[in-house]
């Protein structure tokens, strides 16, 4: 936190988590150029994630996936009025410093990129810009929050167009939170040990029944029905990666997923926007994958 000249404070937890609160009920879309960013904003995206390749292309191409070229990020910032997020590699605090210098609105310390540190994530408390991190279970989510993440997204399996892992991770996090709520006070110390999570955060979840930061969903969402599904499972907003710009009609798909995310409880609306959408991205069976991105992160 920094005190500015007029005694206002920037970079406080409330201000950092607050932007995540403002994104709730919305769709954050992966875009690789200003044209796609414009399509996303026109369709009603609450933010865009600027990256060089969408996850399905990263899978196809192989090689090391890194932070995007600053020029591309700046072009996208100049094109849209909504928040622009960008990805840094796990543990790569220098990439994060660059993204903060570029004035991005949120940094995603992301398993979709090739990790730079196989033991440590970025110490996120030292940054003014807020971070979002992925999690497959409650322990992982609370470790990231302990390191200063202001928003958690369930990981799912990026680039597959297959929602099965997103569902698994959301259900796991929810079930583990319910277990904490129902636990005897004396059990919480052992549960914190089992979860490998900071005790104060475990105690907080046991009391409130929810994460101390918003929880969104990512990884494999590719239809309006997928968005409705994960919202009903407790996600507060959705990240859509390859699902939009790898579909037959991206503009239409983008608008449909935006509407389905808002009206997820109203099946008639989700049915209407799902009608005649054209083909969703082709997708992949998770069992057939060579590399599971969700396993990255510790």
């Amino acid at each position: 936190m920094t005190l500015s000249s007029d005694s206002s404070v920037v970079g406080s937890a409330r201000v950092k988590r607050g932007l995540a609160d403002m994104l709730r009920g919305g769709v954050i879309m992966d875009v690789v150029n200003p044209e796609q960013a414009k399509v996303a904003e026109d369709a009603g995206a609450v933010a865009v994630m600027a990256l060089e390749r969408v996850p399905s292309d990263i899978r196809r191409d192989g090689g090391v996936a890194r932070m995007s070229d600053p020029q591309m990020i700046q072009e996208i910032q100049a094109t849209v009025t909504i928040p622009v997020m960008a990805k840094a590699r796990i543990g790569h605090f220098a990439e994060a410093q660059i993204l903060q210098a570029l004035d991005v609105d949120y940094i995603d310390e992301s398993e979709v990129l090739t990790p730079a540190d196989e033991e440590n994530h970025i110490d996120k408390w030292g940054f003014t810009v807020p971070f979002v991190c992925g999690a497959t279970n409650l322990g992982e989510a609370l470790r990231r929050i302990g390191e200063g993440a202001c928003l958690i997204r369930s990981k799912g399996e990026a680039g597959t167009g297959n929602v099965v892992e997103a569902v698994r991770h959301l259900r796991t996090i929810n079930a583990q939170m319910r277990r904490l709520v129902s636990a005897d006070e004396a059990e919480l110390y052992r549960l914190a040990k089992d979860l490998q999570a900071p005790l104060p955060l475990v105690l907080e979840v046991a009391q409130t029944g929810s994460l101390p930061v918003p929880m969104f969903c990512a990884g494999g969402i590719s239809t309006p029905a997928d968005a409705s599904l994960v919202m009903q499972l407790g996600a507060q907003a959705v990240f859509v990666g390859s699902g939009i710009f790898k579909s037959e009609d991206p503009e239409r798909m983008a608008r449909a997923i935006v509407e389905a995310t808002t009206h997820y409880q109203d099946a008639a609306v989700v049915a209407k926007v799902s009608t005649g959408l054209g083909a969703a991205m082709r997708g992949a069976e998770v069992a057939s994958l060579e590399q599971r991105l969700a396993e990255r992160g510790w």
């Binding site: 007029d6 206002s8 404070v9 409330r14 403002m22 009603g44 009025t81 928040p83």
Partner: protein, 194 residues
């Protein structure tokens, strides 16, 4: 106290926080997603969020026309952040196609205090209330306004005092987020006028 339900426009944004503040004040609250729900409220809060997204969803949900009519008929309304943008007379430097309800005669610049890295917390001195916490997140800046607008609070962010809480008739606009703090003072001011 308020008789009929107060709505919180629930298309996108920090709906939950507004619902919690209003419920905490003993008001019956409805999350508004349809025209039928909108038709039944005695007052409305337009929350923080992305104004372009909320504007688009107002159109697809069919609520834009009805809300425009109800605002013209004097529906009490409180807009925070994105809500203020939607209630403004015009949006400076916004998207070419971005519209607003023109309920309050202010011209706002989206993200006028800067991008997220410049988002800040401070205290705001509100006329007749005193100091309240002010959380500004990619906040809109009121750059000009008509005499018909009552300025209830200003903030000087280094470039001179800027209005951050305004009222015109039944409409209230706030560039910060009272719903993200423990203070319910702004909501109480609003409710007292319904």
């Amino acid at each position: 106290m308020v008789a009929a339900p107060v709505g919180v426009l629930a298309l996108q944004g920090d709906v939950r926080e507004h619902v919690a503040v209003l419920s905490g004040l003993g008001v019956e609250v409805v999350a508004v997603r349809t025209e039928q729900q909108l038709a039944a409220v005695a007052g409305l809060v337009i929350p923080g969020g992305e104004s372009t997204t909320i504007a688009r969803l107002l159109e697809t949900s069919g609520m834009r026309t009805l809300l425009s009519e109800r605002l013209r008929d004097g529906l009490p309304v409180l807009g925070t952040c994105a809500g203020l943008i939607l209630l403004s007379r015009s949006i400076v430097d916004g998207r070419d196609d971005q519209w607003s309800f023109a309920t309050i005669d202010v011209d706002v610049r989206r993200n006028g205090f800067g991008r997220q890295i410049a988002s800040f917390e401070t205290t705001v001195d509100v006329d007749g209330v005193g100091e309240v916490p002010g959380v500004f997140i990619r906040a809109p800046k009121i750059e000009s306004w008509s005499e018909s607008v009552t300025v209830l609070a200003t903030h000087d962010h280094g470039t001179g005092p800027t209005p951050v809480l305004v009222r015109q008739g039944a409409a209230w606009g706030c560039s910060f987020h009272p719903e993200l703090t423990d203070s319910s003072a702004i909501h109480e001011l609003f409710l007292a006028t319904i």
